[in-house]
């Protein structure tokens, strides 16, 4: 059993969003920790639903965002750390 790391979540999220990030002239590795996906126009309301849905599927369906500061929901760094902290350890071969 291994813990989910914030870097794993970040890599997963940013890979999925590579298209809109490129459209803004950003490479995945250049995205700063305090980057707001919503206010920077990378995702919209539907994008947030898709993001949460895909992250829950990949890192644990039990993650509840009730304890996350609402302002941090779309900040890449804090979002990924929260998901990593709340995810259940996964079996890795």
């Amino acid at each position: 059993m291994s813990r989910v790391m914030a870097e794993d979540v970040r890599s997963f999220v940013l890979t999925r969003l590579a298209g809109p990030l490129r459209a803004k002239g950003l490479m995945v590795q250049d995205v700063p920790d305090d980057f707001d996906l919503l206010t920077e126009g990378v995702i919209d309301s539907f994008g947030i639903v898709e993001l949460i849905s895909s992250v829950l599927e990949a890192f644990g369906s039990d993650v509840d965002f009730e304890d996350l500061n609402a302002e941090d929901l779309t900040i890449i760094g804090s979002f990924c750390r929260y998901v990593a902290e709340k995810s259940v350890p996964v079996n890795r071969q």
């Binding site: 919503l38 309301s45 947030i48 639903v49 898709e50 929901l73």
Partner: protein, 185 residues
Amino acid sequence: MINQLPEESVLGGMINRILAVVARFAPGITTWRVRLHRWRGVRIGKDVHIGADVLIETGFPSWISIGNNVQIGMRSTIIAHYHGLLPKQEDLRDYVSVRIEDDVSIGAGVIILPNVTIGYGSVVTAGSVVSSSVPPLTLVQGNPARPIARCGIPLSFTTPLKEFYRKLKPLPAGDSTFVSRSGDG
């Protein structure tokens, strides 16, 4: 046999349409626009926000019911009648075709078609076409609008957007929980 459109007086029809045109561009998102539509016969609750250029049923405004704390985004259109699907004459009293319940938020450019109920606290995202009823506290999107998430709280005028997003619970893809009318099951 196709039911006939109810009779409309020339003067009444003209006043209704003039008020409708004025209401589209009048200032006063919570005041004059709302008042003008009420004068036309639209049933509207308290604290309703109506954006610019919103078109609310030209011919039969009383067939629309809008609850309290509802927001309607700019350039939305609400249609209450189809020529080929009209109510019977005996059902016309207090007839409601489109019912928008309390605390609903409708994005910009939404089209709402006849015979639907949008349930309490639901959110219709911008540009969607609502062709069937929406259960309470549901986020719908697209054409035709489909449920994509359950809302933990309604999206009121004063709700911080991120707080609303934080409480969303995504629905599995393909989940179709539409009902024909709210309350019908």
